[in-house]
């Protein structure tokens, strides 16, 4: 293992390896830094081009401008609401179901887990799903964001395999003290499951925060139900071809304010607003989700 005993081919391997990984690192990071730099750069200056990873003329005007845009505020509120509500509902329901399925003595265990696991392999498809939402009268409501995906088999499997690893003796002694199954779940099992619950909370929250298609499909005609990603999508779609002449934002906002800020800067600022909340949480949860992914993958 000593460095001095390394052969030349070992060194060569290390050089290639570290270079390769450094390139990966740069390719991953550069776009984010570029977006950040542009979002913080003065808009008319950005049009001149050449911004890489540092802003040339620092300003917060771009951010100020986007937060004057009503739809974006509504979108931000709705995205936050769906993330919070969706995560709470998802975590609580997954934990409860997982607890019952981790109990070897539970009669419904086999049948219920089959019903759940099968959903990983099929889906009714876009149109039957749409018709169901229509029949349940969920279209044009906030609830279409949080209810359909609330119970998710993948999350249940992850939580369940974590619970399977807890000693059953804990439950037995509580039972002797006269605790019922719900009390056991709530007071004993749930507190022990914090790491795995943090993992699925992250998965659900990110999924909710990043969704745009349900807004597009079900609620696009109702501006009061818009989401942040959907607003960003609309602006980006108008400029997919890389042209700078798209004025989606300008049109939506009226000429005056927009004349000072180009759509390019607006896009980058909104992108940052959607990325930052994720950046703030995920590094702290990394240990947990790596564990969770591994557990889930092994089991499923």
């Amino acid at each position: 293992m000593k460095g001095s005993r390394k052969g030349w081919d070992d060194r060569l391997f290390d050089i290639i390896n570290y270079s390769f990984l450094t390139v990966v690192l740069l390719v991953t990071l550069y776009p984010f830094l570029n977006v950040l730099a542009i979002s913080l750069n003065e808009s008319t200056d950005t049009v001149r081009g050449g911004i890489t990873i540092f802003p040339r003329e620092f300003t917060l005007t771009n951010y100020q401008t986007i937060f004057e845009y009503d739809n974006l505020i509504t979108g931000f509120i709705n995205s936050t609401l769906r993330t919070v509500i969706g995560t709470v509902l998802g975590v609580v329901s997954s934990a409860m179901v997982a607890f019952t399925l981790s109990r070897a003595d539970f009669q419904g265990r086999k049948a219920f887990s089959t019903v759940l696991v099968l959903t990983l392999y099929f889906s009714g498809g876009l149109i039957p799903g749409y018709m169901l939402m229509r029949d349940l009268q969920l279209i044009d409501t906030f609830w279409v964001y949080v209810l359909p995906g609330m119970v998710n088999a993948f999350n249940i499997i992850i939580v369940r395999s974590f619970m399977d690893g807890l000693p059953f003796a804990l439950q037995e002694s509580a039972k002797m003290d006269g605790a019922n199954d719900f009390a056991i779940f709530w007071r004993i099992i749930l507190p022990l499951c914090t790491p795995v619950l943090a993992t699925i909370a992250l998965f659900i929250a990110v999924g909710q925060w990043n969704s745009w298609f349900d807004t597009y499909l079900y609620n696009s005609s109702n501006p009061s139900l818009t989401t942040l990603q959907f607003e960003l999508m609309k602006i980006l779609q108008n400029t997919t071809m890389g042209a700078t002449d798209a004025n989606a934002f300008r049109d939506a906002q009226g000429q005056e304010a927009a004349s000072s800020v180009s759509p390019e800067s607006i896009k980058m600022a909104i992108s940052m607003v959607t990325i930052i909340p994720i950046l703030l949480v995920y590094p702290f949860l990394q240990r947990f989700f790596v564990q969770g992914m591994t557990l889930g993958a092994v089991k499923s």
């Binding site: 776009p31 889906s123 071809m241 959607t274």
Partner: protein, 321 residues
């Protein structure tokens, strides 16, 4: 006679007894039932009831009519589907992008994991890992915006670098060239998911017995040989399981990337089955036709999954399903 009657009687008695016991346990486990039944019903409503919607594919479905009033048309929607030239174009796009995605999106994370596994400087390893997971958490909307920006003709870094290196004189209009679209989608997906998809392989590598490496070192095996003879065989089961599952999902590649990265100029390369179903089914209100497309999609993926699983079983005597 009597004994037969008696037997029948005890049989009934016994089944009554097991029934009785079943209900008794059910009563004891009432909390467990209360904590699971509502959610199982939930899943049945949101995941199984849509399957009932598949009947639409065999009808001339009109939303205003009740189920009993719908007109049944047999396989007419499927016949129309197979006669539509556009369908074959869309199928080609779907298969092309899913096969490219499988080939590149499956192999590169393994290579990445192998390289990462050889890093001895732990802080560097952790930094690369943390950063490589980041794009997975960013929405496709943002990623599509980033990709468009990086490939843009005015100041996009890819074009800048190509021009600086002298490969091209004028910036390439990547986003308006149909023949580039499949590659752009595949590489964007790779950029987004490579780190994330390597997690499971890295975890599998952590489980390889370190003594094997020690023994190989004593025998003077080079790093590449160690990778080839110890690391890769060590994670073989994981590789196979991931491969089978990816084959099962081959045709259900989704449509987000194609929707967000596509534009009217490249639509002949960007339209995939789901988008086709969306455009016809919801855009044009042809619900029955759209459902038929969805069913075709599901059937192909189920067949692929069973096929892959069958081959897997034959060679390893294991099954992933």
């Amino acid at each position: 006679m009597e004994s037969v009657e008696k037997k029948a009687h005890t049989k009934i008695n016994r089944s009554a007894k097991t029934q009785h016991r079943f209900f008794k346990t059910m009563k004891q486990q009432k909390y467990l039932y209360a904590m699971s039944v509502p959610f199982v019903l939930w899943v049945i409503v949101f995941n199984y009831v849509p399957l009932w919607g598949w009947t639409m594919a065999f009808q001339d479905f009109k939303p205003a009519r009740s189920f009993m009033e719908q007109e049944w048309v047999g396989l007419a929607n499927f016949a129309a589907l197979f006669q539509d030239e556009r369908f074959y174009l869309v199928l080609r796009n779907t298969l092309a992008m899913s096969i490219m995605g499988l080939a590149i999106g499956f192999v590169v994370p393994i290579i990445f994991a192998v390289f990462l596994n050889e890093v001895r400087v732990q802080t560097f390893k952790r930094t690369v890992q943390t950063i490589s997971y980041l794009p997975h958490f960013v929405s496709w909307v943002v990623v599509a915006g980033i990709v468009t920006k990086m490939l843009s003709t005015d100041g996009g870094i890819v074009n800048e670098m190509l021009m600086a290196a002298g490969f091209v004189n004028d910036p390439v209009q990547f986003m308006t060239k149909g023949e580039w679209f499949w590659m752009i989608v595949t590489l964007s997906d790779l950029w987004k998911e490579m780190g994330w998809n390597s997690i499971i392989f890295l975890a599998a590598m952590a489980g390889v017995d370190p003594q094997q490496y020690e023994a190989a070192k004593v025998d003077g095996a080079s790093r590449l040989r160690q990778i080839w003879h110890i690391t890769l065989p060590g994670i073989r089961p994981t590789i196979l399981v991931v491969l089978i599952l990816s084959i099962g999902h081959l045709i259900t590649i989704g449509f987000e990337k194609q929707f967000l990265l596509g534009n009217p100029i490249v639509v002949d390369y960007a339209e995939v089955l789901d988008l086709y179903a969306l455009n016809y089914g919801i855009g044009l209100g042809r619900f029955s036709y759209g459902t038929a497309i969805g069913i075709f999609n599901s059937l192909v993926s189920i067949v692929l999954l069973f096929l892959a699983n069958g081959i897997f079983k034959r060679y390893t005597n294991q099954s992933v399903m």
